[in-house]
Symmetry: C2
Subunit: 449 residues, 2 copies
């Protein structure tokens, strides 16, 4: 026994959290759905280490990422750091293995990343990323497939209505070229990206102050970004706005193809739109850009974002690896599902609870549970012989759908009680050697397993 004053306070680090069963079940469910969608398009899973050489990670995500990185010297004197996203590790991975992998290469990667962020914004310092990317092709079909995967993800996750906002960085470039703002496009687009967050006046202010645009130019950019309506009319309005700019015309062509393909494969038109205001500040996007918003919770921001980049792994290899991909915001989605009341209130993955209170009958209970598992049910047997009340409370609290109740009378009479824990109703069933009646009743209560 440890004495009280030797005891250590059990606590997690600031910005870190435990997943208790209810939250973890929801997370596992979300990941399983994402995985099945990725696999249905032929994306393959990979994994990379949590720790990398510091030089691999620094300077790639900008100053902010560098500051937030967990880095230290390991016991062998190496400068190491914990990954802060899954994109830089993908770049390193691709540079290292592309010969073996072959091109094009499609991968998904689901795993934790770490950032020593300011936790006041409700952000965590450890969170899961869930990325998919197609590397080694510039074909527009990869743009379309990215949109289709996002569509299928959101549909499968069942977080209500959603809309994929699409843009093309080259269209933005074309518009800026016509406004004579090409030189300062990066700071201009960074400012534009904040539109939803800080409003038009502050965006104009930042474009003038930081990017060096005139106020007239800045207002013009905002006007262009506000072009709205259905995809066809936006595409129509865009033609003159980018005309004459080679990049702008190329971007418009790609955006037009993307929209045509989505329409051709019957994606509902309300599920996607062209949104010229999304720029995704990150300098490396060079083509299609995606963000995804939930109709019921637009305020939480994009739940699936990404885009096309020209040269993923330039820092590590001379081989040019263009690609496109997006990242599903697992933690944000989980929070959203919870807020929308779409997370099941249960802390057990199993549906069937078997009570235990006949003395000396453990093997009978074990046999019963084994037979139910072989019939496809997930079953918990209460591990102790106790009164019925506390056992049912245990089952109820965990969200079991039903309880199979057997005491001495039931064993002797070859019968059992099946209690529906939602309605509170019980049903007496005969207990034949093949458990036919019980299995049938469970199937009708729980649906086919």
């Amino acid at each position: 026994m440890t004495s009280k004053d030797k005891r250590i306070q059990p606590r997690t680090l600031k910005g870190f959290r435990d997943y208790l069963p209810q939250a973890m079940l929801a997370r596992e469910d979300l990941i399983a759905k994402a995985r099945s969608v990725y696999r249905s398009y032929g994306f393959s899973p990979i994994d990379t280490p949590a720790l990398e050489y510091e030089e691999i990670l620094t300077g790639k995500g900008g100053e902010e990422s560098d500051k937030q990185m967990y880095r230290f010297t390991d016991n062998g004197g190496r400068q190491v750091a914990m990954r802060f996203d899954l994109t830089i590790p993908l770049a390193r991975f691709a540079a290292q293995h592309i010969g073996e992998l072959g091109k094009p290469f499609k991968r998904y990667h689901i795993g934790p990343v770490w950032r020593g962020e300011n936790t006041q914004r409700g952000r965590y310092r450890e969170f899961m990323q869930c990325d998919f990317d197609t590397i080694g092709t510039e074909d527009v079909s990869a743009d379309v497939e990215t949109a289709l995967v996002i569509h299928d993800l959101l549909q499968t996750i069942d977080a209500g209505e959603f809309q994929i906002h699409m843009n093309n960085r080259l269209v933005l470039t074309g518009m800026l070229e016509r406004l004579d703002l090409l030189e300062c496009q990066v700071p201009v687009l960074r400012a534009l990206d904040k539109l939803a967050k800080i409003g038009p006046d502050k965006v104009v202010d930042e474009m003038v102050r930081v990017a060096g645009a005139s106020e007239t130019q800045a207002r013009e950019v905002l006007k262009l970004a506000a072009v709205g309506g259905d995809c066809e009319s936006v595409l129509g309005e865009l033609a003159p706005l980018v005309g004459g700019s080679e990049q702008g015309e190329r971007g418009l062509e790609r955006l037009t193809q993307l929209v045509e393909c989505l329409r051709a494969v019957d994606i509902a038109p309300e599920r996607y739109s062209i949104d010229l205001s999304i720029a995704r500040g990150l300098d490396y996007y060079t083509g299609a850009i995606f963000e995804t918003f939930l109709a019921d919770l637009p305020g939480i921001g994009s739940v699936c974002s990404g885009g096309r980049y020209d040269d993923l792994a330039a820092l590590y290899t001379k081989e040019q690896l263009p690609g496109i991909g997006a990242s599903l915001g697992l933690d944000r989605l989980l929070a959203a599902l919870e807020e929308l009341g779409r997370v099941e209130v249960r802390s057990t993955p199993a549906n069937v609870f078997v009570t235990r209170f006949s003395k000396g009958r453990l093997t009978d209970y074990l046999e019963l549970c084994g037979a139910l598992r072989r019939a496809g049910f997930d079953v918990e047997l209460y591990p102790e012989e106790r009164k019925l009340g506390p056992q049912l409370k245990h089952a109820d609290r965990r969200g079991y759908r039903c309880a199979v109740i057997l005491g001495d009378d039931e064993w002797t009479g070859s019968k059992c009680l099946l209690k529906d824990l939602q309605t509170g109703k019980s049903e007496e069933l005969a207990l034949s050697s093949d458990l036919g009646a019980l299995i049938e009743a469970l199937n009708s209560l729980l649906g086919p397993t």
Copy 2:
């Protein structure tokens, strides 16, 4: 473009590794199987942070673990460390949340852990653990269930024949008490644990040198540990060896109950045995002990080990939390499955590959793939228009089972070729609007989805 001399060599840290698709598919498959077994017994998933306060982790796994731990000072000046197993975090987690969780509490936890081990022994510094535990009950049913879960895991994973070796720490204590070795049981059992690795003479030597036993006593321990045969005869021989020792008799009773239950629920007798030589040196085991060996690869050591402990979280709470659990050696099992040739040679999770080489037909290809996905198939569409040869090579290399081939002639004639990539045989099929013939052929080739 990054110039050559600015480029960073893409590499992983010593002792760390990337998972390429083939290995990762095998790992995902193994984890999915483990998860389904855990869930079928009502174990719930949890997760804990990779980083903990250093004080939570140090001194719990012994000197060796402390030395191997990755620890550092974070940006906020906190002493932090990366978890080196999932047991200490479980202890901290249970102490912190048991009120909310309720007892008994059954959890599984699958995640990476980090140890700066000597990599020369072929060990990795980052590896996955896959644990399950039942906390808050001393009932023998939890012992039985632990054995049953191990059994179901190994059966589901399909790594060939296996045997669960079982012992009870109290039986060992009883035998040592009769030999007057109770005072030095920990170093004696630590030495005994090495029997398979270093042989009897060195074990005797260590018992004498380190534990302070006489050579006669040490030889006697080895003789006891060698008691073999079927479970019934071992249990019979044990009675006199522990008789008179209260703890020994209690251990024998528990071991007997365990064996009786396994027999009663028809676990094949060759799947388990009593092995008095396994002690699992760790001081904290206090009852049942389990190790599991593959018949085809006994040399790789135990692939699933665990046991019963009295007081998991004593360092963090005054509440006594007895429990029992085991850990599935995922990495060891993956290596074993590979060595046994039971890992599929493929690097794609999808089965159906669709070639693409008719110009201007992208939407037709996309529609076809969408329809096949809705019919339940996982489908990759080659992202570029290319000659057939390189596309089929791409599909072959990744282990696709079949390819659907459509060129201009096929589109015009409303037909397609289905090529079996294993046999090389092709079949021409009509392409009706509901894809009936193609779906039927795919079903018969791939089995029902």
